[in-house]
């Protein structure tokens, strides 16, 4: 009887140790999964930021063109101002949400003088990814290309 009881306890002990290792392994695995998911979430936010930046610098609403030919990495300052005004209206703000989603788009001029235009602003939460793309800012009134950058802040 005692021997049987010892055997039973031995079996139980093995099971306890087994489940201990199982739970330890499982919690380790799930923690890895969690960090992997977080990394994937970050990656998706960055991918969205790149997409929004790509779209912004090639949009006909902002791009410089002459005789229908687009100049790369260039924004027309009059278009920037007009587009910013347009996006301040509720209808356009809603219609352009699929394009810009939760983000802030700012055009900043660095040379020869410092100026900035907030084109679109729809923030969400604190976490965000920031991208800056150098652009020429063309002024058709003076026929000058100023230097600046497009700042795209995409919210997670």
């Amino acid at each position: 009887m005692r021997r049987a009881q010892i055997k039973m306890f031995e079996t139980l002990a093995v099971l306890v140790v087994f489940f201990f290792f199982l739970i330890f392994g499982a919690s380790f695995y799930f923690r890895l999964q969690e960090s992997s998911l977080e990394r994937e979430f970050d990656r998706n936010t960055q991918l969205r930021a790149v997409q929004i930046a790509q779209k912004s610098i090639t949009m006909p609403e902002l791009e410089c063109s002459f005789a229908g030919v687009q100049r790369e990495n260039c924004m027309d300052v009059l278009k920037v101002q007009a587009f910013a005004e347009l996006l301040a209206t509720e209808e356009a703000f809603i219609d352009y949400f699929p394009v810009f989603q939760y983000s802030t788009l700012t055009v900043r001029q660095v040379y020869p003088s410092q100026l900035e235009w907030v084109v679109y602003n729809r923030p969400r939460g604190e976490q965000s990814t920031l991208l800056q793309i150098p652009v020429l800012i063309y002024d058709p009134n003076t026929n000058r290309h100023q230097f600046g950058y497009l700042e795209v802040r995409v919210y997670a």
């Binding site: 990394r39 790149v50 660095v110 040379y111 800056q132």
Partner: protein, 156 residues
């Protein structure tokens, strides 16, 4: 009895092997280098090239000449009369302003240099520590005395 003992030792050995496999699996995850971030890749590959192209295309304050034209004049004739300086000085000022207003603001170390003509080679700019990895981009600027190599190094 000896057989039972052997069985028990075999069982222990199996457990040790399983634990070792688990530990190796865990080490693999811990030591694996994080995958390069998309945002970082986009920044590194586009930023140096984009900055350089945009800077060279910028219109300066000197008689509406672009930075490229200023460098061409600086390398060969130095005949352009700018409001405050000669073409070399004006180009240097413009480049420094643009780089300090972007890369320096973004806390990115950089090195800017020109090769190909003595006058133009005096135009240089740098900020931060450039002893680590470098993402470099060079734009050629043709002149009558040869091609200037304008290089921007982004340092990590």
């Amino acid at each position: 009895m000896p057989k039972q003992g052997q069985m028990e030792i075999l069982g222990l050995a199996v457990i040790v092997v399983l634990i070792l496999m688990g530990v190796l699996f865990a080490i693999q995850f811990v030591l694996k280098a994080p995958a390069a971030q998309i945002e970082q890749q986009y920044k590194e590959s586009q930023l140096a090239a984009g900055l350089l192209t945009t800077m060279l295309g910028t219109t300066s304050d000197c008689r509406g000449a672009s930075v490229t034209e200023l460098l061409q004049d600086c390398a060969v004739f130095k005949s352009l009369e700018c409001p405050h300086d000669d073409s070399c000085g004006e180009a240097g000022y413009a480049i420094n302003t643009m780089l300090s207003g972007t890369l320096q603001q973004w806390r990115r170390a950089y090195r800017f240099r020109i090769k190909g003509a003595y006058n133009a080679e005096q135009i240089a700019a740098s900020w931060g520590d450039c002893s680590g990895e470098i993402e470099s981009n060079t734009n050629p600027v043709p002149t009558t005395v040869g091609t200037l190599q304008v290089t921007l190094d982004l340092c990590r």
